[in-house]
């Protein structure tokens, strides 16, 4: 039984257990829809009030918003084990139980939770993508489709990587959730708008530290036919790798933290 298969088996079981409480499940899914719908409303209001933001037309703004929603909530859907409450795994001693099984810890953490309620947020994101690309009259090509798939996939890795920072902190029993939230949830809120509308310090943070701009905005701008900073098209396929790089670094840091955990005990 390989890891991927194990993951999907776990998913199936978790879904089953969530559906043990169907009423609560549907209410919460609905609540998520309202919440993410509200976020989208903010974009609609901006479009309505200002018409455009810099070079970005209303359709472009919907598209950026959609890219972020789909990416972020796909991560929360499938990676809830990491994006959820990792520190409670540590505090409750559940992490010890994971160490007692012959599998990688991160694999098991990922297998330990999903959040199917996010499906409504993803739906809002998809709607925004469809509306946005329609309004901006995007000329779809195979390359553009590939760029979008790559961007979202590596964006998921980026978000996972950012949440791993929080996991590492909680392993070292340091409370600094707010600081990390600024990167994760803050990054999601800020970078649902194109990066070049922000002042320089924020642009730096979301390009270098939490590279949402490289992973999501460069490809999105390419798809919209308005390359960010006038960069050549091929960069849309290269810069998203920043997301994978961040994940790789955080994965290594996480493994180190687990070694620390096992030597300090709980």
């Amino acid at each position: 039984m390989n890891t991927i298969k194990l993951y999907f088996r776990s998913m199936a079981m978790l879904l089953k257990s969530q559906l043990q409480y169907p009423a609560s499940f549907f209410m919460q899914t609905l609540a998520q829809l309202v919440m993410e719908g509200g976020e989208m409303l903010a974009v609609i209001l901006i479009v309505d009030r200002f018409g455009r933001l810099g070079q970005w037309m209303p359709g472009d703004l919907f598209f950026f918003f959609g890219m972020m929603s789909v990416t972020f909530y796909l991560t929360e859907f499938f990676g809830r084990g990491v994006t959820g409450n990792f520190s409670s795994l540590v505090r409750s001693g559940q992490l010890d139980t994971l160490l007692l099984r012959p599998r990688g810890v991160l694999t098991q953490v990922l297998c330990s939770a999903i959040d199917p309620r996010r499906v409504s947020c993803i739906a809002v994101g998809v709607a925004a993508l469809v509306i946005g690309s329609g309004m901006s009259k995007v000329q779809w090509t195979v390359l553009k489709g590939l760029a979008m798939a790559e961007s979202i996939l590596l964006g998921v890795l980026l978000v996972l990587g950012l949440f791993l920072i929080e996991a590492v902190f909680s392993i070292h029993s340091v409370k600094s959730v707010e600081l990390v939230n600024a990167l994760t949830y803050g990054g999601r809120s800020a970078c649902q708008y194109p990066i070049d509308i922000f002042p320089r310090p924020l642009r730096l943070i979301f390009t270098v530290v939490a590279p949402f701009a490289l992973t999501l905005h460069v490809p999105a701008a390419y798809i919209l036919g308005k390359p960010l900073y006038g960069w050549p098209d091929w960069t849309a396929f290269v810069t998203p790798l920043a997301g994978a790089a961040l994940f790789a670094v955080m994965y290594a840091v996480f493994q180190r933290a687990m070694r620390f955990y096992r030597s300090t005990g709980s």
């Binding site: 088996r9 043990q20 139980t97």
Partner: protein, 320 residues
């Protein structure tokens, strides 16, 4: 070499105290284990006792590969647990009485099949083992019930089944009978004995329930303040502390007791006199004739000391 060989094991924890100044937090070092050595042969059933905080769980965590010790050698079945964690945990099972390993909201059968996937147990092997365990632990009736709907006793049996599905050669049990009623407790003990004798599973049992130890473990290790204080058979351990007996006497008519030696402790409950004495200082026959001199005796019961009292006396003497 022994199946489990532990040599000079040391573990120190840094415990953070509450922040007192602005920045510096004081750290105190707690020596959880100090030069603990022992060896356990394949197929042994060993009880591991000691007061709370003695270092029992730390030992189990090190032996199961969750913790890295600060010093000392550990070898379990030819492997160093924390260095070859995945290879090691494949061969062991762990049951924590207070913590569940199964999934809360799904039928336990689903939990079991996920465990099968996690441990990569071949289907045939899994089926055979599940059938045997279901039968031995009487799980048949609630295999399709979610864990959260089970009683504590049923849940513990399900946990045991889950920890044995991959056929571990070594089983750690941390207070498996905590909170169980008498019937469940007895059934669990029978099962453990059977598992140990029939399948040769080595078992290390941590508990505060001395009845568990007395019923199951030919060998017991006592840990206190991170040091091993005793390693051997339970009766020998207890004989040192088992020095007192209690007699309960009821007379035909209301009488006062004759004067007894000062070493006897006397108390009265209704019509019963309770006399605690040390047979080594005052032979029982002597006490009896003293008691009989006071009048005709209607009832007389003699009791050994409760095993928990003995353990308490031992902990007191060892200054734990």
């Amino acid at each position: 070499m022994s199946y489990i060989a532990v040599e000079g094991l040391n573990k120190t924890f840094a415990v953070r105290k509450k922040r007192q100044g602005r920045l510096l937090r004081e750290k105190t070092l707690v020596r959880a284990l100090q030069d603990v050595s022992f060896s356990i042969e394949r197929g042994e059933l060993v009880g591991y006792i000691g007061p709370n905080g003695a270092g029992k769980s730390t030992t189990v965590k090190i032996l199961s590969g969750i913790l890295t010790p600060d010093g000392g050698q550990v070898n379990v079945g030819g492997r160093v647990p924390w260095k070859e964690r995945k290879d090691h945990v494949r061969r062991i099972g762990v049951v924590f009485g207070q913590r569940s390993q199964l999934w809360w909201d799904v039928p336990i059968l689903d939990s079991f099949s996920l465990l099968r996937d996690i441990y990569r147990v071949p289907e045939g092997e899994y089926r055979a083992r599940l059938a045997r365990l279901t039968d031995a632990l009487q799980l048949e009736d609630f295999l399709r019930t979610p864990l959260r709907l089970l009683s504590l006793g049923q849940r513990m049996r399900a946990e045991l089944c889950g920890s044995l599905l991959h056929g571990p050669e070594l089983l750690f049990l941390d207070e498996p009978t905590i909170g169980l009623d008498a019937v469940s407790k007895l059934a669990l003990r029978d099962f453990l004995k059977e598992e140990n004798e029939r399948n040769g599973t080595t078992i290390l049992l941590t508990t505060h329930d001395m009845e568990d130890i007395a019923a199951l473990c030919p060998r017991v290790m006592v840990l206190g303040h991170g040091k091993k204080l005793y390693d051997g058979a339970l009766p020998q351990l207890l004989s040192r502390y088992d020095t007192l007996r209690q007699l309960t006497v009821r007379y035909e008519a209301e009488t006062s007791l004759p004067p007894l030696p000062e070493s006897c402790a006397v108390s009265r409950e209704g019509a019963d006199w309770k006399i605690t004495y040390a047979p080594a200082a005052l032979p029982t026959s002597q006490l009896l004739s003293l008691l009989q001199s006071a009048g005709p005796i209607r009832e007389l019961t003699a009791q050994p000391q409760n095993i928990d009292h003995l353990i308490a006396a031992m902990y007191r003497e060892m200054d734990l």
